[in-house]
């Protein structure tokens, strides 16, 4: 038992110390973090087309104050909020800017309703105009209180604008009924496909490492020295398990580093990621006026919905089942990769044997798109039960929620599956590693399997 541990240790340490492992460990999380961050940037800075914005100003202060720019056009609406929203949805309008009436003094908040995520240029343009207007209003109100002579009043109005008003904009995405659900589905789809592809990628990446490791031992002829100390089965299993741990280490490092990078990014640019679900607050400050904040509680904007959706997916289940299906799928295929490595003399000879391994994996990836359309259907069920396709297909299904019975059945069959392939591979392996210069084909391998029993 301690010998297999030695083998695992060697397989693990030699790989983890490699430069390629370290490079992969660094590049992977950067790419994954970019996957989170870049779309947010793109959404905010892209779209050059003209945007028409309806303005529903209950205060009347901003009437005709919004000037059209090169790509932003304003028109004023004089109905109530609900019909304005309906109107916006029916028309080509980009967004609806709603400035609610305030009780006390100046208007303190505004909301942008839109059926897409409004981009940051639009928001900052509106913010600029509004803060300018409100600062002017504040100035007039305060100066009027002083009852100055007209001349003094003019001078006072020219007092440099020291009253800084900080503004944050709320954006609210309006969507029709039932479409709210769609965001959840989209996210599940993305997560499902993403983890399915990741499993596919991991099985191939680390399975090929097993195969190359076996070929290396065979061609360097060290295998005969090692199998005089340990059983061939121990060597094979030690290699497979050692590389599995390399895979797990890589995966965990990726997760930790990705979250770290996204976390750092959030800390540096908090407004870019987080504040899309907050209210537009126009805060009164300066000149002793009471801070007046109005909060808008209706928060159904896009990002918050995504967050909700993310929260609705059980990440613990996702990560645990990912680890299980990664290990299970890898062990199932890893044993076969080891068998192939043992049967050939060099890597170029592996191709004829790679086909039966590649086909079910590619097959699962292609069928994943049908599974995702109907994650509860019979195709999804059967593919997620069969051990050769279940690692990918089950990962595609899991974000949609899978009955415990299916999960249990699939996991048990996967365990039986990899025990089976390991048993079969061991028979090929122990004969194959000591065979040199033989033209190996399926018939020969079949003989080895029969011979071993």
């Amino acid at each position: 038992m301690s010998k297999i541990f030695l083998i695992i240790q060697r397989e693990y340490l030699t790989r983890v110390k490699k430069k390629s492992f370290i490079v992969m460990t660094i590049i992977g999380p950067i790419l994954m973090a970019a996957l989170f961050i870049v779309p947010i940037f793109i959404a905010q800075y892209s779209s050059e087309e003209k945007k028409i914005i309806g303005v529903l100003d209950e205060t009347g202060i901003f009437h005709s104050k919004f000037k059209n720019s090169d790509d932003i056009f304003f028109h004023y609406i004089y109905t109530d909020l609900n019909s304005a929203k309906d109107q916006m949805l029916k028309s080509e309008d980009y967004a609806l800017l709603y400035i609610p009436k305030t009780q006390i003094a100046l208007p303190t908040s505004a909301i942008i309703y839109s059926n897409i995520q409004p981009n940051i240029n639009v928001k900052s343009y509106i913010q600029r105009i509004m803060s300018k207007e409100i600062e002017d209003e504040k100035l007039i109100v305060n100066i009027d209180k002083l009852n100055l002579l007209p001349e003094d009043r003019k001078i006072a109005l020219n007092i440099p604008n020291s009253i800084k008003t900080s503004i944050t904009l709320t954006t609210i995405k309006i969507v029709g009924d039932g479409e709210e659900e769609k965001t959840f589905t989209e996210l599940s789809m993305v997560l499902g496909i993403f983890s399915g592809v990741l499993i596919y990628f991991f099985i191939f990446l680390f399975g090929a490492q097993v195969m190359r490791g076996v070929i290396e031992e065979k061609t360097s002829r060290i295998v005969e020295i090692i199998v005089s100390s340990v059983k061939p089965f121990q060597l094979m299993l030690g290699k497979i398990l050692g590389i599995a741990m390399v895979g797990l280490t890589q995966f965990l490092l990726w997760i930790i580093l990705t979250f770290t990078i996204v976390g750092i990014f959030q800390a540096i640019f908090p407004d870019k990621i987080q504040n899309k679900n907050t209210e537009l607050l126009i805060q009164n400050n300066g000149l002793g006026q009471k801070l007046n904040t109005q909060t808008i509680t209706e928060s159904t904007d896009e990002m918050s919905k995504v967050f909700e959706a993310i929260a609705s997916i059980n990440f613990v289940t996702m990560i645990l089942s990912f680890i299980f299906y990664f290990i299970g799928g890898y062990l199932l295929y890893g044993a076969l990769f080891a068998a192939i490595g043992s049967a050939v003399d060099n890597e170029t000879d592996t191709q004829q044997f790679m086909l039966p391994i590649t086909i079910p994996l590619i097959f699962s990836l292609i069928l994943a798109q049908f599974v995702i359309e109907n994650p509860e259907g019979p195709l999804a069920f059967w593919l997620s039960i069969i051990p050769f396709t279940s690692p990918i297909i089950m990962m595609v299904r899991i974000p949609f929620g899978v009955p415990y019975f299916d999960l249990f059945l699939s996991m048990s069959l996967l365990v039986i599956g990899f025990l089976g392939t390991t048993w079969l591979a061991a028979k090929i392996y122990r004969t194959g590693i000591l065979m040199y210069g033989k033209n190996v084909n399926y018939k020969v391998i079949w003989k080895w399997i029969k011979y071993g029993s």
Binding site: R10, I222, S229
Partner: protein, 307 residues
């Protein structure tokens, strides 16, 4: 006492029989030569001793006990086709291979340092194997094979790849190991090294053992009672004076040195031959022809082909 015994070992591969009822006994503290032409079944037999493969029939004993997996730690094996992990460092790799044979890490380091110093290769410790020449790698493999002080050592063509100086170092080490109590089985085509080192041999040909025993006995068994005589001053035709009890095999005359090989038939002796010759010539030397292992090998294998 025999350290290793094989009884009626048979191994059948898909298309041919690799070993057929082979029985061999290796006496303790001997150097045992396992000889045979290519493809005779030597490597298969060695793999069976190392429990890399199992026999189809027959039994194997190690020091009187049935051969079991635990015995691998008492056996050291240097295969004919040998290699190391190219990307691993020499020291690291040697420790790994030693630990696979059941030595703990600190002891492995201590022993390795001793042997590396003895072979003057300590400076290679942190180098990658791929940076070393083939001969250098062979030295490391030799050290790794003997490091765990096995009772039984199996060397398959140990001298291939070594220069003559290193061959001698290796031979000395093999003799040292034997003198310190180890038993060595070695397989080779190099018959001169068999003469030099082995005290027992087994000859395997075509899956069967065709010759087995102590080297000195085998040689006696194969000597044909032939003598080589260097002489001068012959006054008559040798064939005319020779008694019919004796038979001339070969007469040579090189650089004015005359020699003759004469076979003594039954019911006679070397003394009688000398008496017969003395009146006619001056004997410069008189030697019995003892067959070399090489000749015995060729003779036996050729006989076997005839069968």
């Amino acid at each position: 006492m025999d350290i290793f015994t094989a009884e009626n070992v048979t191994k059948q591969f898909a298309n041919h029989k690799a070993l057929n009822e082979v029985s061999i006994s290796v006496p303790k503290q001997s150097i045992f030569g396992l000889l045979g032409p290519n493809g005779a079944g030597k490597t298969t037999f060695i793999r069976i001793i190392n429990q890399i493969s199992a026999p189809d029939e027959g039994q194997l004993f190690f020091a009187g006990e049935k051969l079991k997996p635990k015995h691998v730690e008492l056996i050291g094996y240097l295969p004919e086709e040998r290699g190391l992990y190219k990307k691993m460092k020499v020291g690291e790799q040697a420790i790994y291979l030693a630990r696979l044979k059941g030595i703990n890490k600190s002891e492995a380091i201590k022993k390795l340092k001793f042997w590396f110093e003895k072979f003057e290769i300590l400076s290679w410790w942190n180098r990658k194997v791929e940076e070393l020449s083939k001969g250098m790698q062979q030295k490391i493999q030799f050290i790794v094979t003997i490091l765990h002080e096995p009772e039984l050592l199996i060397f398959d063509e140990p001298f291939s790849g070594f220069d003559p100086i290193n061959v001698n170092i290796l031979k000395d080490e093999i003799l040292n190991l034997r003198n310190n109590g180890a038993t060595i089985v070695f397989s080779t085509h190099n018959m001169s090294s068999v003469e030099e080192l082995c005290d027992h041999i087994a000859l395997i040909d075509n899956a069967e053992k065709i010759l087995n025993g102590q080297v000195s006995e085998i040689k006696n068994q194969f000597k044909s009672n032939t003598f080589e005589i260097f002489f001068s001053g012959l006054n008559k035709e040798l064939s005319d004076v020779l008694n019919p009890k004796f038979q001339i095999i070969e007469i040579k005359n090189i650089d004015d040195k005359n020699s003759v090989r004469i076979k003594i038939k039954e019911k006679s002796s070397p003394n009688e031959l000398i008496q017969n010759l003395l009146p006619h010539l001056t004997i410069n030397s008189f030697n019995e022809i003892i067959p070399t292992m090489n000749e015995i090998f060729i003779q036996k294998v050729n006989e076997n082909v005839g069968k």
